[in-house]
């Protein structure tokens, strides 16, 4: 019944839109200020999921979009529908274009073409996932493209669950999510960021959202459900029930297997500490298969067995985790897969499987305690700090859920002090010290095979626009703390007589992961949040002006404070003629939502940049 009503609503909308002189374009333009410059306006977008008494799920999507520009036609002209052909059947019900003159043009059979998703062509085990491309025909600017399809289960499921974020790339007039269950079955629903409560009628739950603004997504490193209205729903009554299938399949798949034993024994030869053994096995696991970027969710397909993953030579993220767990177990370690949420949880123990976007492997060593290994990349930073703010579920004998606490900014510190003075041949000599704490400590990078000297060289050679590392020594290298001293030289003398020397004020020794690299200073607005790691970044530079040169300019003093953190640049003129410039940035939040982008930009702008300019006397 609900479907009939929604369809009628849609048809009414379209029929009004196409019958008016200006068509839907006119309505859309008048309807909302935010639509004015849109490439497309989504009139209606519904997702209806229903489960029958036997547990078969049907997912129906129905969408109508007015296309104004070539950009929109490019994005909506050939929609791709992903489905798992081994356990689902796709039925395209309607693929139609409503033209401005009121005529409709239906897509014929030759416009519905099945393809294998890009990236799965060399991964046949995953190629049951297929993409059907629907080519809309008769498209013209100002037309409305309507698509309706359903994906029908070929086998029953225990639970129905889902996660929806009410964000949109184009202004959306009406977005509807409907869940329909057999009589008497209950649905656990959660919501966040202002998402509506569902309207319930019997065993049918409906969420309706109107007038979503459009925005071009920006990769700020955060999951959009952290700041856009979001809902989650599940028929499972508990986390255990929700994740039972996934957990048991992951557990069964990741058992030790014999064919990797000799390779493991080889890499462990001569390795003494447990921590190094773990990292060696992780490296071997990474090198044992190639990565396949699958187009479906982490838990949308069960994992293959570790043996099969190893034999095939390729793996999805989930399969990589299974392989790593199995190899660690083969090497004698207790390895435990841990699901990692997409973002901060709003479900309080009722998280659906769709809420988990990645997986790490927890393993403990005598020396380093518990490590959280990323199955996709070498262990390079303290894994636990990297998971700050996420919800984790341990897939041990019993499931356990916990939230990783937010990082204390003082725990993560990247501090560099350098002194620059003239040396012979018109060069500048520098010596400095770097203190890297928390996530900035390169300890695990080194344990995973990176040369610390190479790491230091890469960072030091960027100083002053191009420096040469002369000497380097490590004062300490610990899991959460690394201190090093270094000496370098930079040239001034190859400038022409009338040229000035422009020395970029040094950036922090290592600010990777802080999130500031995601800030584009020139951009006036970003529609998505930026993920940050609370931290302190500090640079102090003491400069002695070389003989025969005079100072033209130093970085500007500044001080900025906001809800995100604070930044300051100070300049001190010492009595011996030396100048000391200090630049500090303190990030206190782990996310900068779009409305705080200007604040974050102001901090970074104040902290970064600036030149030391010298010229000959």
């Amino acid at each position: 019944m609900k479907r009939v009503i929604l369809s009628a609503l849609f048809l009414a909308f379209v029929s009004i839109a196409v019958s008016m002189p200006e068509g839907a374009a006119g309505r859309a333009r008048r309807g909302s200020q935010i639509d004015r410059d849109a490439d497309a306006v989504v009139l209606y977008d519904s997702l209806a999921i229903s489960m029958d008494n036997l547990g078969y799920i049907t997912t129906r999507r129905h969408r109508a979009v007015v296309l104004y520009t070539d950009n929109a036609i490019g994005r909506y002209g050939d929609p791709r529908i992903l489905f798992d052909s081994r356990r689902e059947e796709l039925r395209v019900k309607t693929a139609r274009v409503h033209r401005k003159d009121g005529a409709t043009v239906d897509t014929k059979a030759n416009g519905i073409n099945r393809t294998t998703p890009f990236g799965l062509d060399l991964a046949p085990d995953y190629a049951g996932w297929q993409e059907t491309v629907v080519t809309h025909v008769g498209i013209e600017k100002g037309c409305t493209a309507e698509l309706e399809y359903e994906i029908v289960d070929l086998e029953p499921r225990k639970n129905l669950s889902g996660l929806q974020v009410f964000s949109a790339e184009d202004p959306t007039r009406l977005r509807v999510v409907v869940v329909r269950l057999p009589q008497g079955q209950e649905l656990t629903c959660c919501r966040a960021n202002g998402a509506p409560e569902p309207e319930r009628k019997g065993s049918c739950w409906t969420w309706t959202v109107r007038d979503l603004p459009g925005r071009t997504p920006y990769d700020g490193g955060s999951w959009e459900g952290e700041y856009f209205p979001s809902i989650a729903y599940s028929t499972a009554s508990s986390l255990e029930e929700s994740l039972f299938d996934a957990a048991s399949k992951i557990s069964e798949a990741g058992v030790p297997f014999a064919s990797c034993k000799s390779a493991i024994d080889k890499v462990l030869e001569g390795v003494n500490s447990e921590e190094e053994k773990i990292l060696s096995v992780q490296k071997l696991s990474l090198e044992s298969v190639r990565s396949v970027r699958v187009p479906y969710g982490l838990l949308s397909s069960p994992p293959r067995t570790a043996q099969r993953i190893y034999d095939s030579g390729y793996a999805s993220t989930l399969d990589r985790a299974v392989l790593l767990a199995a190899m660690l177990r083969t090497a004698g370690f207790e390895a435990e897969p841990v699901l990692v949420s997409l973002g901060r949880s709003f479900c309080r123990g009722a998280e659906p499987p769709e809420f988990f976007g990645s997986v790490v492997i927890s393993v403990s060593s005598k020396e380093g305690g518990e490590l959280f290994l990323d199955p996709l990349s070498p262990y390079s930073r303290d894994g636990f700090s990297m998971l700050s703010g996420k919800t984790l579920v341990r897939l041990g004998k019993e499931l356990s859920i916990f939230e990783v606490p937010r990082v204390d900014p003082s725990a993560n510190r990247s501090s560099m002090t350098i002194e620059i003075s003239p040396c012979k041949d018109g060069r500048l000599a520098g010596h400095g010290r770097a203190l890297l704490m928390g996530v900035f400590s390169p300890y695990y990078m080194v344990r995973s095979g990176l040369s610390l000297e190479k790491y230091a060289k890469e960072h030091i050679e960027n100083l002053l626009g191009g420096a040469e590392l002369k000497k380097f020594s490590v004062l300490s290298l610990e899991r959460h703390r690394c201190e090093m001293e270094f000496e370098f030289e930079a040239a001034l003398s190859d400038l022409a007589q009338d040229e000035r020397a422009y020395l970029p004020f040094p950036l922090p020794f290592d600010a990777e992961l802080s999130g500031i690299e995601r800030v584009k200073l020139e951009r006036s607005y970003i529609g998505d949040a930026i993920k940050l790691v609370p931290c302190n970044l500090e640079v102090s530079c003491t400069l002695e002006i070389p003989p025969g040169w005079k100072l033209v300019s130093l970085p500007q003093e500044s001080s900025v404070k906001s809800g995100i953190g604070s930044a300051a640049v100070t300049v001190e003129a010492r009595s011996d003629g030396k100048k000391i410039v200090r630049s500090e940035l303190s990030i206190e939040q782990d996310i900068a939502e779009p409305s705080f982008y200007a604040d974050l930009k102001a901090l970074v702008s104040s902290f970064e940049g600036g030149l030391v300019v010298l010229e000959r006397e």
């Binding site: 043009v105 990236g119 790339e169 006036s524 970003i526 033209v552 300019v613």
Partner: protein, 671 residues
């Protein structure tokens, strides 16, 4: 393109034959080899240290082609690949064999793994899976057979034998039996019945110890062939079954991976072979298969009438028709069944579908033009690479030829001219083409289009105050091909991101730029010059010292930056040297006209000089002067050719680097 780029000739090849006819007898016929001899070949192929950067080496690649009288070709391929590194083992863990069920058939006949340990393992061919190919923009139902191999290790070698029959141009038909061989051989006979062609490359992205191509044609079926881009060993024999040709190469080095390099077909040793005697023959065939498909209907006639209404000249009318085909027929290819892949869709079909690939857009334009009374013919071209004179099908693109009353042709390309004021995109200059006409046309070439025709001009007016704050306006405008680029960049970008897109461009001036106002013309108004005006400011843009200011030209920075696409050639010279020609598609002039107002009394420090440099592939001239309190930057950078031979790359790069150094140098002003 210079003469030096032209391929080696048969005479060079012939010079090798005397010596090689001896060598040929020594060539191992791999298929007949014993396992022991195969092992010897694998052992002799070398190890990872012999092939730095390669994960595997092709020990032997052999293709044996038998052509029937009908043109139906049987391809038997045999290869042995040796794994050199663990990465190579993963790279080759799954093999993919593409086919089109309607026009060709492929079977994996045998696969064995010669293990480094000495064992020989037969691969179970029931593991082969038959899947749809990934596809984007062209949806013609292509399929692939995929074979996952048992886990490979360094030192293992994979032997594969395949059999394929048919031809490579796709079309779809009803009732195709997927994956299996059709009993109906007609399906595999090429559309140009009785004829065969092939283009075979003898260098790839991996090292090859030996590659052979053997061709058997029936008695009395002549072939034309020629070897390009380097020598190959060759032999010709004949017996009562026909004539047998062999071509081979030893120790072919991997093709370097260089961005923006010329197409492989322009640089690797290749064999081009065809049974056609001339391009005229191809031309007549191409016209004949399209004989009846460009009919119009009342709707099309009404559209044509509307489009040409008010246009005075034939060029204006044809331009209007082409604009419609270019803008309103979007690029997305669906199959019409038989004939797909090598024939245009009928104009009425494309008109209804409003979509198609290049050939369908071309067919639409021909239909519109014929409806308007113009003589238009379908044509073939190769976008981005040469077409050799041997009349083998070397085309990847279909276009339109407009025959004028004086007998000359004007080439039109509705696929490449959306948002363009050009009738023919100058990114396709110097391309070869063949027009399909009933009387037959030879291979022809689009003329060179000099950079002076494709100007992107930045007009900059700015002022800088005494503390270095910059406030400025920019106007971007262009001609011909660069006008199209500008219209497309700004006309097809997502509207709500357009500001951010332009802010990204202006970050070349300074990351601290603040864009205050943007005004963009209508990219689809071809009667009006297209412009983009931007007002912006940058706090403390200039370094302000005691009585001094210094800064670099904002306008020149827009050109010499990898943050903007305005002078793409500059972004193409990042490599210090190249082994392959650089291919940048089009010629260009980047022109700068800038005036920066300074605080009163400030004078440039030192002398001002103009600079210029002439090169065969690029040149520049720049002038920096001061008039009162205004700094004036005027200049041009010319990109003169779209292909830069590898031996001229260093000079080309040096000219651009020198231009960039001058243009973006900070200039000091003082009171």
């Amino acid at each position: 393109m210079t003469k030096k780029d032209l391929p080696c000739t048969i005479s060079r090849l012939a010079a090798l034959i005397a010596f090689l006819s001896v060598a040929f007898s020594l060539v191992p016929a791999a298929k007949a080899q014993t396992d022991e001899k195969i092992r010897d070949l694998i052992a002799a192929a070398g190890e990872a240290e012999d092939y730095p950067g390669s994960g595997y080496v092709s020990v032997l690649e052999r293709t044996d082609v038998t052509v029937e009288e009908t043109g139906l070709a049987h391809f038997r391929r045999y290869s042995i690949e040796k794994i050199l590194t663990p990465k190579g083992a993963l790279e080759r863990s799954v093999m993919r064999f593409d086919y089109d069920p309607a026009s060709n058939f492929i079977s994996i006949e045998r696969t064995r793994i010669f293990r480094a340990s000495g064992e020989v393992e037969n691969v179970d061919l029931s593991r082969v899976v038959d899947l749809f190919q990934p596809a984007s923009m062209i949806y013609w139902g292509g399929r692939m057979k995929v074979l996952e191999l048992p886990r490979l290790s360094v030192g293992d070698a994979v032997e594969i034998e395949t059999y394929k029959k048919g031809f490579e141009i796709a079309y779809l038909d009803e009732g195709v039996t997927v994956g299996s061989e059709s009993p109906d051989e007609e399906r595999y006979v090429p559309p140009m019945r009785g004829h065969f062609y092939d283009v075979v490359h003898f260098r790839a992205d991996h090292p090859i110890k030996e590659k052979r191509y053997d061709l058997h044609v029936p008695p009395g079926k002549p072939i034309r062939y020629r070897v390009y881009n380097g020598p190959l060993y060759s032999e010709q024999r004949f017996d009562d079954k026909g004539t047998h040709y062999s071509f081979w190469i030893y120790d072919s080095q991997p093709l370097p991976s260089e961005p923006r390099s010329a197409e492989a077909s322009d640089v690797v040793p290749k064999l081009v072979v065809a049974t056609l005697s001339s391009w005229q023959e191809k031309s007549r065939w191409f016209a004949a298969i399209h004989d009846t498909i460009y009919n119009d209907n009342e709707e099309i006639r009404q559209l044509v009438k509307k489009l040409v209404s008010g246009k005075k000249t034939d060029v204006e009318k044809v331009a209007a028709l082409q604009h419609w085909a270019a803008q309103e027929i979007r690029y997305s290819g669906i199959s019409m069944g038989k004939g797909e892949g090598y024939t245009h869709h009928p104009g009425k079909m494309t008109f209804a579908d409003r979509c198609g690939v290049c050939k369908d857009k071309a067919g639409m334009l021909i239909t519109l033009m014929r409806s308007a009374g113009y003589e238009a013919w379908p044509a073939l071209t190769m976008a981005g690479a040469r077409v050799e004179e041997v009349p083998a099908d070397q085309f990847n693109h279909s276009v339109v030829a407009w025959k004028r009353p004086d007998g000359t042709y004007t080439m039109l390309d509705p696929t490449w001219v959306p948002y363009s004021t050009e009738l023919w995109s100058s990114a396709e200059q110097e391309q070869h083409y063949v027009i399909g006409t009933p009387w037959g046309e030879d291979l022809m070439q689009i003329p060179y289009s000099p950079p002076e025709k494709h100007v992107l001009k930045v007009t900059s007016r700015a002022s800088i105050d005494s503390v270095g704050n910059l406030r400025g306006s920019l106007r971007l405008e262009a001609t011909n091909y660069m006008d199209q680029r500008l219209r497309r960049w700004l006309g097809t970008h997502k509207r709500d991101d357009l500001r951010a897109y332009l802010e990204g461009w202006l970050s070349a001036i300074s990351p601290n730029v603040k864009v205050e106002k943007i005004s963009i013309g209508d990219p689809l108004d071809f009667d009006t010059d297209f412009k983009c005006d931007i007002e912006y400011r940058v706090k403390r843009y200039a370094v302000a010292g005691a009585g001094t200011l210094d800064f670099a030209s904002p306008a020149w920075k827009l050109g010499f930056s990898r943050l903007t696409p305005l002078l793409p050639a500059y972004s193409a010279v990042e490599l210090e040297k190249r082994e392959l020609p650089l291919f940048i598609w089009h010629t260009e002039t980047f022109s700068c006209d800038e005036k920066v107002t300074l605080p009163a009394g400030m004078k440039i420090r030192g002398s001002m000089k103009s600079v210029s440099k002439e090169g065969e592939y690029a040149s520049f001239s720049m002038e920096r002067t001061q008039e009162g309190n205004k700094l004036i930057n005027i200049g041009k950078v010319l990109i003169k050719r779209r292909t830069i031979p590898e031996e001229s790359y260093l000079q080309f790069r040096a000219i651009l680097e020198e231009a960039a150094a001058y243009a973006t140098r900070r200039v000091i002003f003082e009171l």
